[in-house]
Symmetry: C2
Subunit: 273 residues, 2 copies
């Protein structure tokens, strides 16, 4: 909160600004400010207010459009309808299958529409339009995924919405990468970047590398190279050296390049008086 800066007062009925000769009253926050803290003129304030209103209207319009285009997921309908395949007109099912094919109960099929899958994923498009096995049988097997993740994945294709925790975001990012659903991949990556910290940075770095998540990779790498002194003691680091030493090399290369840049910056700064 800005304090009152009035030191003297003078009556000035023409202006709506405060009558003190050195302070004015902000149209927006109604606080007094001195000339040093002056922001905009009235005209620009009014323009900015109009712009804000316009942007808010545009947001409302877009939200209505999203609500209209958002599909009822056959999974929602599941709850309210009698039979999964009947009134939803689904024409394909997806089944989560683990590679071992031994452990666990058989997965519940997730019903869907070919038209929706084809519309959201170039991989499903190629699969279903080219009379492959999946198109003929009406069954798509998705390996190495839990039923919950598959269900969320299909739901996202209909609604552009998902309820994420870190595990689910990783699972969905993997599926999004595999089926080329860019919008979902960006959504998961954004979530994971927001959850990045020193504790999960090495794991996240490796994960981002494996699944081609560029923004997450850069953020994790930057976190790691800022804490190099602590790195080599970490369990995840030792494991990474074992499992994928090339990724460790990339960390050192990034660190080196950062040091060189910082040194160059310092040099050029010290050249100036």
């Amino acid at each position: 909160m800005r304090g009152h800066l009035c030191t003297a007062s003078r009556v000035d009925t023409e202006c709506e600004t405060d009558s003190d000769s050195e302070t004015m009253r902000c149209i927006s926050c109604k606080e007094y400010y001195s000339r040093c803290d002056a922001g905009t003129c009235k005209e620009c304030y009014e323009e900015a207010s109009d712009t804000e209103e316009e942007l808010k209207r545009e947001i409302e319009d877009l939200k209505a459009k999203v609500a209209f285009l958002r599909f009822w997921s056959p999974l929602d309908l599941h709850i309210t309808h009698r039979s999964p395949a009947g009134p939803c007109f689904t024409d394909v099912v997806l089944i989560a299958s683990s590679d071992d094919g031994l452990i666990g109960t058989p997965s519940v099929p997730v019903p869907a529409h070919k038209a929706v899958l084809v519309s959201r994923s170039p991989v499903f498009k190629a699969m279903l339009e080219n009379e492959m096995e999946e198109s003929r049988s009406g069954t798509i097997k998705i390996s190495d995924v839990s039923y919950d993740a598959l269900r969320s994945f299909v739901n996202y294709l209909y609604t552009a919405e998902a309820c994420l925790d870190e595990q689910m975001a990783c699972d969905l990012l993997v599926l999004a990468e595999k089926y080329e659903v860019k919008h979902l991949k960006a959504y998961c990556e954004k979530f994971l970047v927001s959850k990045l910290n020193w504790d999960n940075s090495v794991m996240s770095y490796a994960f981002a590398h494996q699944h081609n998540a560029k923004h997450m990779l850069e953020t994790a790498l930057s976190l790691i190279t800022d804490n190099m002194d602590k790195l080599t003691k970490r369990k995840e680091y030792i494991e990474l050296v074992e499992e994928d030493p090339r990724l460790v090399v990339e960390i050192y290369e990034a660190y080196l390049s950062k040091q060189v840049n910082t040194a160059a910056h310092k040099d050029s700064s010290s050249m100036k008086p």
Copy 2:
């Protein structure tokens, strides 16, 4: 453009504002202004800029969501694909039919997905989920509509987009009303309201009445009651008296109520000194 108001100058290195004692420089438009034209303080300007940035980011996110949820219309696919019913997985066709059933060439069927129709319109939902004739035959006849309007209607259900002129907006509003597609109805109504003028006001009023377009009705009515002196000479007015005199009564009632309100307002104003 605001002119320079400088009258004297004083060096004031602490402030970023112009050093003249009576003028400041607007952070936004970089013009000089006097205390009378002061808008916001710097803090509020910065907050407003941040808000604008945030709103713009939200708009970008929503646009990406719309692009993701927007369906490929089977009509778009028509152009790029070999057969309409094949790779699009459409399971229903809509046919424009005129009631007389005699004039004109038979309409080209418009292919669609039951799942999309059901998702966008409660009327299609009831029709297709309840094993009615349309569901069994996979053919929905739409009466009193041109092929072009039907095509645009179906396209809108997939994309939330339509290319409007006044005729098309009227045709689509009628279809939207009939099939309870609220989003499309609002879209057409907004367009038609933007095109309202004295020349089309009586027609628009009657149209809005017939199709329950409340906002359009009010705007047209307000236009008409503002021009009552010219109303009775209009051809459309004379026709409306013939065809639907109750609508004409409503015009007079609205006019009367406006007069009463204006008089009451004048009275209460004249009471004050």
